[in-house]
Symmetry: C2
Subunit: 110 residues, 2 copies
């Protein structure tokens, strides 16, 4: 697990990007996917994830559909067209940030 401080500011970008690549997903699924992609290093907490999803929805970046699985309800999220634009922006921004940090730290990126 990474020092959680480093994750700050990256959560929205991660969520958006995973949704872009995978399409329709529900909250829990997103946490699992990120866990997998990050090799257990990024463990999204629910207290951070759900507020973020709700915020992105309120801003019109995501739309939702609820689906019943047995007696359980799943809430699926999909990117809106606006959301798709935002992903590009955010990913570009974070990629640029990563490159800048690599320069400053003079770290080689294999």
């Amino acid at each position: 697990m990474h020092s959680p401080e480093l994750l700050k500011g990256t959560l929205q970008t991660i969520v958006l990007k995973v949704l872009k690549d995978h399409g329709r997903m529900y909250g829990y699924e997103i946490t699992q996917r990120v866990k997998e992609l990050s090799d257990e290093r990024i463990l999204l907490t629910e207290g951070a994830l759900y507020p973020t999803l709700h915020k992105l929805e309120a801003e019109g970046m995501l739309k939702t559909e609820s689906e019943s699985i047995g007696k359980r309800v799943r809430k699926y999220y999909t990117l809106t067209p606006q959301g798709k634009s935002l992903v590009k922006e955010r990913v570009a921004e974070l990629a640029d940030f990563i490159k800048t940090m690599s320069n400053v730290l003079q770290v080689k990126l294999a």
Copy 2:
């Protein structure tokens, strides 16, 4: 300038690393060096820098010497042996974080 949220958690690492590479430095000098290394993208604010330097000093990671330049006083910071260990840790941690993020975002790092 980057979205400032992304910087969170990286400030200590940046300061430590710059001090390791350049040796004895004073606060203002650090801001200028980081600005240069980051191609104007990372502009350390004083409200963040000085508290960080003081904190690292209080933890025994840095030692200080004051020097008079004309009527002005400069406070020079140098890494202690403990500080040198910390740099390695922090840089390794951040490098690992960067790699993880690159995987999750599937960004190519030229």
